[in-house]
Subunit: 502 residues, 2 copies
């Protein structure tokens, strides 16, 4: 099969052009909405051609870049290196982009992923000029077959003035049918209930609609997704997973969960992936996932039959995972469904389904405020992503982290979070390799005792106890005892000395 066989619509086949010609259409200063979510389904040819206009042709060119979430080196990486991004939303995990953001060179708007599509529709962010969307193919009727991520593609295609498509024949054609694109949304006052009542429900169509007149260029590619490898699962992560499994079993014994649990959401990051691994040997079955991304750990669970269905907005697989996914695609075809992020992350659906939510974090304070995004309160790691959509609306919201970072020089449990992404009300369970703190129903002071005793690292525990005891004595009020003169001093010490330890 030649690449062009993927473009079955004649009108659009006539618009095939080189990445360079398509990139030439982008104007300095415009906002471009690209596809891409956690390293899957992002355009891989146009962004590089755009970077080359700057790096090779010396043009003065900067764009505002919107995506689904993180992308890959050929998109965020290439454009960040070329200094082509003036503003970026809603999520970035690219190292080059992160570096420019933290130097103040890219204006980064870090958003709840569920807010993005509605707020763009509501007209809060200005006019989207061009959508650049990677797809698997184009059907005869001109509808578009999505690739390995859906993200905000539907919104970009609908809202942009013009559309450029990258038809990537690296994507398996059998992806067709594995997407559920819901077109029932509307602006208020015309919004209606989203009719999804289980993780495996279908409420949409398998393709994107796209007005062919808006398409100004079609690029043909054969290029793999980023597919970053996961770290091998270490002892720390395995211990964290063990605590989490014990907790779920306990909930089952208490009758608050059955052995089928409730739809699982597992966040990005290495620890979250390790937790999934722990489920393989746990006494649960017929599980479903209603989550943002499908990681290797989810594939393992599908393979062994523990998981019977996974709903997500994107794949986020290692190179081996991607290979495995492709080799067993017939097996996964009726067990995996990719949806627009506005549905995968919708508070309405998450609260209805009652997801069990497990996300990574940077740090938590003794009251259980969680920082997911800003190291030392100012340096962005990735962003809040969808963690807030899930944490606030989950049946049980859990956050996991090793108790220390950077070889023990940073405590993940601190007197006061240097930045807050998830307020105490949205954090029901905290887990480190030291142990688990079940915070449900506990007032702040009881939370503090549990978090310090169960979760903090022994190197920092005496310091936390000391702080907390003095705070209980000297605090302005005693609802959440705190000492503003020193509650952020651990962060300050790290900034000055490279360690939170005195």
């Amino acid at each position: 099969m030649t690449t062009s066989d993927r473009i079955k619509n004649a009108q659009l086949r006539a618009k095939v052009m080189s990445a360079e010609d398509a990139a030439a259409l982008i104007e300095n200063g415009e906002i471009v909405g690209m596809s891409g979510f956690t390293g899957s389904g992002y355009p891989k040819a146009l962004p590089k051609a755009l970077a080359s206009r700057i790096e090779d042709a010396g043009e003065d060119l900067k764009i505002g870049l919107w995506t689904g979430a993180s992308t890959g080196p050929e998109l965020d990486g290439a454009l960040a290196k070329a200094n082509a991004i003036v503003s970026r939303m809603p999520y970035n995990s690219d190292p080059a982009g992160r570096d420019r953001i933290n130097k103040g060179e890219i204006d980064y708007l870090d958003m709840h992923l569920s807010h993005v599509a509605p707020m763009v529709w509501e007209g809060f962010f200005g006019k989207l000029k061009t959508a650049v969307i990677e797809i698997t193919g184009i059907r005869e009727d001109g509808s578009l077959i999505p690739a390995t991520s859906v993200g905000n593609n539907k919104t970009w295609i609908d809202c942009a003035e013009r559309v450029i498509l990258e038809v990537n024949s690296w994507h398996d054609e059998r992806l067709e049918g594995m997407h559920d694109i819901y077109y029932g949304g509307a602006l208020p006052p015309n919004r209606v209930p989203i009719p999804l009542v289980s993780a495996d429900g279908k409420i949409g169509q398998t393709t994107f609609r796209c007005d062919p007149h808006k398409v100004v260029g079609v690029i043909e590619t054969f290029l793999p997704d980023r597919n970053a490898p996961f770290s091998p699962i270490d002892e720390t992560s395995r211990t964290i997973a063990g605590h989490l499994m014990d907790f779920l079993e306990h909930e089952m014994k208490m009758g608050r969960l059955t052995d089928r649990l409730l739809p699982l959401q597992s966040g990005v990051g290495n620890v979250a992936n390790a937790v999934l691994d722990g489920l393989k040997d746990a006494p649960f079955h017929d599980l479903k996932a209603y989550t943002e991304v499908l990681q290797d750990g989810m594939l393992d669970l599908l393979d062994c039959g523990k998981l019977t269905f996974a709903s997500a907005t994107a794949l986020s697989l290692s190179p081996e995972g991607a290979e495995r996914f492709r080799n067993n695609l017939e097996f996964y075809r009726d067990k995996v469904l990719l949806r627009p992020t506005e549905i995968s992350n919708h508070p309405e659906v998450i609260r209805r389904l009652g997801c069990i939510s497990m996300n990574g974090m940077i740090e938590a304070d003794i009251y259980g405020n969680v920082n997911s995004s800003l190291v030392m309160g100012s340096k962005i790691m990735n962003g809040i992503g969808g963690s807030g959509d899930f944490a606030r609306n989950a049946f049980i919201s859990m956050f996991v982290t090793p108790s220390t970072a950077k070889g023990g020089k940073i405590s993940a449990i601190v007197p006061q979070a240097s930045h807050v992404d998830h307020i105490t009300q949205d954090v029901q369970v905290l887990i480190t390799e030291q142990g688990l703190a079940d915070l449900r129903g506990l007032s702040p002071k009881k939370r503090a005792e549990k978090i310090i005793e169960n979760c903090s690292h022994p190197d920092y525990r005496p310091m936390l106890r000391d702080y907390y005891e003095r705070a209980k004595r000297d605090s302005f009020g005693l609802q959440t005892p705190s000492l503003p003169s020193e509650s952020l001093s651990w962060h300050q010490r790290f900034i000055e000395t490279g360690s939170m330890l005195p």
Copy 2:
């Protein structure tokens, strides 16, 4: 009409007893779920009789107290004074209770109001022993006519082992029909969409179901709601309201809102009430409210015809407001509907309807993190209440406050919030009497510039500019420039000297 005419069911009429006899049923250490929301519809006789068991009879008696939200002096006040409350959730605004909480004498769990009923159903908080519910009357079939608040009453009645009723004939009988009690809820995996698609929709029944066998006592009362007066609207609040009206008109001109706006939510507090007053002369019409409480300001809007419908979970009126409400009840009967808090505050419904949300706050920082609850990060004012339910899910989420408190000794705009209830992602517009900051689409640094320049008080503005400039120079990362060594120093200075000014 005699009081007993309110109890039309013979089986329940036989259970009429004195408040003292009913109070005698409560055991030391049990959890009691009482009705009551912002000073309306709370039991007024039993709590006092309970307090008297301690204060007059010298008993050792402490309970865990759950309600809808705040209540009145005869409930929270009386029990707090008698030191009868060991734990309290989910909201308190009683001064005596607040005082005990801030001394560490009451264990206070400050919750998102939308989380309360589901989490109790999910079994996270232990067994509810007794429900004590104020109602307007009992129908022949034993169903209960709600009073001036609904709150969590349905959940308490359903979940408690036994029920005590206070039938308060102070409430107007014509309240019957003004409630919409939705019984379509379920635990996951059996939850279905909530079929509400407009603020004035009816999806439930007008009364509470209650198994008569669970009722262990019925008390007859004739006692008024708290009905705390609002402060007269001052110049500062009027200016804040003016900025807000200008903003709404601007949104209308930009085509993002029509002159019917979208359902209004207005928070508790004096400033929020003043904002409603501003709507009287604004060029909008046929407005609807989908809100938590119905304040005097909402009555004014109903009276002048600007507002055609108000959905809430409780009345929160001044004594004059309550009088007016009663005198014109025929007029209000088809324009006001009270719902369970789990519906009035449900993220699913709020996001669907696209509420315009306006809430008071304690302080915001230069990035727009909002503190609604903890003065100096440790001393509770009231609690987060439903502000998070609305702020995160609103069409536009606005927070209002005077730019200073305590005669200028406190700045409401600070370098870093001493506690965070609403993260930057949930705060789109900030308003003080100084001006309005429209933060939509802005990255943190652009937010900071707008907030400092538009919202801060001139006495503090140079200090904020100075901090921010130095933070941009010396911060660890530049996504949200901050200096942990001094970001909370204003709070520390206030604690030490009684003023944030140097």
